[in-house]
Symmetry: D2
């Protein structure tokens, strides 16, 4: 005789805005997190909001949402909705997040927090106010939940690298190498806010700060648009004003490449690169930390591996160790498969959702907070200011910094050897 | 105003038996496949069957099944159930699959098909008979659905490697290196049927045959139990008779290592190794094909990569090319994430389920068929016979072979250079 | 009956100054080049000059020099000596090279050309004057003669990477990670001229210019001394004034880390890093070029490999190809061993000597010329000036540039996206 | 004033027979060893012997020999010659080595020792007799002197891998993949004695025995000629009788591929492969040892690296560590360059010569002895016998074994799991 099976925990009802690439990743995570992690609440895909009725309905069916709406305000107004998940382009984050927080909804906002530092500051203030009332907010720097990177952070905290000497981070992609790759909203400053710097550079800024436990205090850099015009993709893609009215090519209004040097709060230098021009590098998000007693290196193209160097091992046996981060000792890994059976890109979202649901259920504030996201944005803004100012060093407003600076910070300009 | 969202296709109701490691992987795939692939039917997790009431109920809730039963026969008898998914140890496959096929249920049976060639033969005959009535059956060699390996097969079919010279396959694990790793049912011949040979060696036999389009015709090999006794894990784990009655160590009744040479139908030699003794190799399932005009190499520890060598390229530019198999051109990849964003282990199951649902919906027979699984089993059985006979060459019964042999097969013993 | 064997070509008599690490490498190359390459002249190790009689004599014996002298001037004055090979620290290059050129001796001068731009300018003028009289001069950027890098240059010239998008170069070492690694002359600005920037950064500046065929036109950067004092190594090591008089630690007067961005003459951006703080990186001299149609990547820790990416290949087959640069098609490789049998560090010197001897024998001017070395030095000097000036962009004096700039150069400060 | 430099140690006069690929490598080593290692004797290139006057004289000049002879017997008869270095094809080793030993000359004989086990047995007996009179003999398994492999041996001896579980060795080349690659003497059984098995398989047999400290006691294998005829290279290449009289293709009389399983004296199984059919593998000589507490892996295509796995490290930090074997702690490395500056193929010979000269100077017997070489040959012969006998297990004559067998050897046929 078969017996009916009943849900074990209270539902957490999700209203999601946007259903593109991020919508697919987030909805998979909402469906999956409680299947592999023990969570105090069970996510339910309540309502999907979007602009275009026809594709919205198809997406809702595909992703498993029970209903749809073409007004995101419906989510905010619906007393049943517990969480607003913002998966739209950056130019809409501010309005949606402010309304959601005001309505007492928990908010998951994709990065960037907003397209301007000013908007981000207001959102951060609103999140802080809402937090007082038990409303949780998180910004979607999902790469933090890669097991290898979360393990890297733990190793640093345990003292594995010792005194930090240097940070090196690159995010290399190649989809703009071809001068005839078409325009998209990501190349339109109005929509995207920034180019390689904000889209992918943001991740390595967030990650290096989080892993080292040090905020970036100053930067000097250069951002550049290598290919300034591209074939307009047509009105169907909604390029609007960025396409050339007479037909042919639209103007790229964001950067293709960003190169900058950063000074961390503890005094150490970091070199950063974000580019969409690195032919052959598909998603090479690389982070390397060098310390007096060890090093750690990561490349997202091999996301299940972490390279670690232990300078305290016997000299003859030293070298970079390729750790497969699929052991029960590695963050998140125990919930999944046996050792050596790797995870994929979407697991970073599933882990993010699991942590967020736990935080909501247990009344904690999840991380990355809006403050953390704001500080990332200030770093990126400082890079742009530096670039416009001949690449000179520029301090980053420290008011949203998460980590204490060292007692003897090194000023950016007094460190030269001459 | 929100609008309700409705399912787009007819349901396909799943009854699953077993809820261990494979149950977790299969149920995730059943839940996920239609979220990323366009399928003619929508899988519904109908009923989960298992022996132990308490853990069964927890698993059903975790995996998302609507009901449970402690009698797998209920699934067979329930007219609502469309598919029986068999995720139990090998010793139970025969009984369940035979009943399911007789009842006209589609069957997904985890590998090995059964614990004996004889049982497999009967199951294959039953599947062939059921096929006449539109009942579909498939054996779960899920690794075939790794995009890199499916792409390898396509490359071979396109002539990339040219005339095949040699095959090399290894499946290396290390969880038995420690002489004090405990007994499990996988080390008990009664339950598991075989050790490294059947559990992991089966995969590389299936894959090399499928990728090359050639069946193995003869083998010569050695299987061995390196560590013959292990700490008994206690009665809770159900070791039963294999544990030493007086308490301490149980007898391992399956092999730890299997080494064999194979002759493929086209005449080419292959070297095979399956081991659980390769310290540091976590899940190194490796396949390499060498041909006159190119080579292909794969390692599951880097499942998103395929190494290919094009011997027709300009000499100075030749080398193994590390292809990230995340491009739209690669099998299954287009359904997922942007280039460079890798997939994980469970995707192999999601792809398997997608292909199976399509086959059921479209009235096709999915692959690997029970015939293919039977031939794999005959290869493995021939290895054991060869090993018992001093490692001498042994022909494999060709009656379940899938591929035509070459017109000028090379006999195993006439190829020596002397 | 045995028959005496006679030399086939005229001798080229070498006088060498200095017998440390570089002396060992150069003398090996002088002894070996004509054994593997067909050369118009046969090098003869004539006289070794050095300061300390006892170790000088041992070195001469070890290296195979026929005589020794403690006055390097003897080499200049000896009419038998054809070539002066300068292997001493940078502070002595000027005096020796000027005298040698004045005396009509061919000169091989180790890099850096001199410790100041001013000295280098004079040496370059002297070399230019001597060139008129058939006297040859070369600066020892030996890494150019790594087969993989020479092949990289050929690929670029053949159009393999297409329109250049970006340059990335790192020279990572770790011997100063330990805060208690002792002082050496390389950390003393008086002797060494510069630190990581000049010692190892110089190589990647030279290589990227040479491979791309573009000079660096402007730079913006930061140099830094991470560990400012180190245990004095004692007077025996001749640290002199840099050691703390009271005994304990000496002051490091050169940089440990140099980070800079460069604008090449054709307009493309390059990111550069030279460091001795990269724990675990032993000699990771890395160069990567990204172009519209392909990429090239190299790491000296795997000096027999070149990674190339062909963006014109079928999409599904694209990836970085690991080329073993041991084929007859690869520069210098044919003189050595069968394919797959790698070369080592000292081969770069043997190739350099082979090319130099050929140039002398055939009346050609070898490369890198003193002009090229001067331009490298100007780039490095501009980095130091930029660093002292808050990291702002700084133009490089173009008067010693080797390559034509593009007709539409991009100015460093007008490329930002904002 | 210059001062003449005088040699510091007594000369060791070398007579070499043969001047092909091996002659080039050996003569480089004889010229170089005392330049980097402290040796009790100084090698002098005394006389080169060869068949063809014209090329012989050119080779002597190129390699630096003082005289030449077309009668190798001259070397044996010349009282000045101290060492006979045999670099000819295998079919001539017996005659030359026997004469040399009888004349009291030290002998360095390239591998294989001879083309038959019988000849090798006589040579071994002659070497043993000569040893009583202080005459030294060594067989040229030069790969042992790769720093990474010598370090592997040390690690095993120190207990790094613990109880050995498994051995895996491959020597993969690809120069016969092309069916139209021409005949050479290496494909003629009369000259070469054996094919892939003897030419390259010999190395991995020698290495695994030496590194593990265990002799191979039994084998089961298959050898095969995949491409049985090839274009005759013409009489100029001296193919003689092997070319087809009517013109076109000669018959290959040696194997292209050898696959075998071995039982080591301590009971452990090893899998071996030697092939010239592995398209894209240029010189992939790979050795891997798996033990209870660690593993070691090596690939000659990256000869400056050793991969080691420490199973006693904290679980989360375990992984294969890529050791650059260029530290002073690594065998032979201290004599060369700073850390991270790799060595090349010819260094294995330079190290071999250094060890041989030390052994001669200090009155020690160098290794590998002729006994060791004989045992290797017996292993290879047993593989051929096994192959001809349907691949059945075959014992290896233990009379030349170097290492004690374990007290509880495991017989090859009683280890199956069934």
């Amino acid at each position: 005789m078969t017996t009916p099976s009943a849900p074990s925990s209270r539902p957490l009802r999700i209203g999601m805005v946007g259903y593109g690439f991020m919508g697919a990743a987030h909805s998979h995570a909402w469906r999956t997190a409680h299947r592999f992690f023990d969570l105090p609440l069970t996510p339910v895909l309540h309502t999907l909001a979007g602009r275009t009725e026809s594709s919205l309905v198809a997406a809702a069916e595909r992703y498993g949402f029970a209903q749809t709406t073409t007004r995101w305000q419906d989510l905010v107004e619906d007393p049943e909705v517990d969480v607003i998940d913002i998966c739209t382009p950056g130019d809409t984050h501010f309005e949606i997040a402010m309304a959601a927080l005001a309505a007492g909804k928990h908010v998951l906002c994709e990065k960037p927090l907003a397209n301007s530092v000013e908007d981000s500051e207001q959102m951060t203030a609103a999140a802080a106010a809402a937090r007082e009332k038990g409303v949780r907010s998180i910004c979607g720097f999902s790469y933090r939940r890669t097991p290898a990177l979360a393990y890297a952070r733990r190793l640093v905290a345990e003292g594995f690298v010792g005194e930090l000497r240097q940070v090196r981070a690159q995010y290399l992609q190649d989809w703009l190498s071809d001068a005839d790759a078409p325009m998209t909203w990501r190349l339109d400053r109005e929509k995207a806010g920034s180019g390689a710097l904000g889209d992918i550079g943001a991740h390595i800024v967030d990650l290096t700060q989080w892993i080292t436990g040090q905020d970036i205090a100053a930067v000097a850099g250069t951002v550049e648009t290598v290919v300034p015009t591209r074939p307009a993709a047509g009105t169907a893609q909604g390029l609007g004003g960025t396409g050339d009215a007479s037909g042919e090519r639209g103007t790229v209004t964001v950067d293709d490449i960003a190169l900058f040097t950063a000074r961390f709060g503890g005094g150490v230098l970091g070199s950063f690169e974000a580019t969409r021009m690195a032919q052959g590098r598909k998603n090479a998000m690389r982070v390397e930390l060098n310390g007096e007693s060890g090093s750690i290196a990561f490349d997202f193209e091999r996301m299940n591996e972490l390279e670690i160097y232990d300078a305290t091992a016997p000299t003859g046996r030293q070298g970079f160790t390729r750790v497969l981060t699929t052991e029960p000792e590695h963050p998140y890994a125990e919930a999944w498969w046996p050792t050596g059976h790797g995870l994929g890109y979407e697991h970073t979202f599933t882990h993010e959702i699991a942590d967020l649901v736990r935080a909501i259920g247990e009344g904690d504030d999840p991380s990355p907070s809006f403050e953390e996201a704001l500080h990332v944005q200030r770093v990126l803004a400082a890079v742009e200011v530096s670039s416009a100012d001949g690449s000179a060093w520029r301090d980053v407003d420290p008011s949203a910094a998460s980590y204490p600076t060292s007692t003897t910070p090194q000023s950016p300009t007094s460190q030269e050897s001459t």
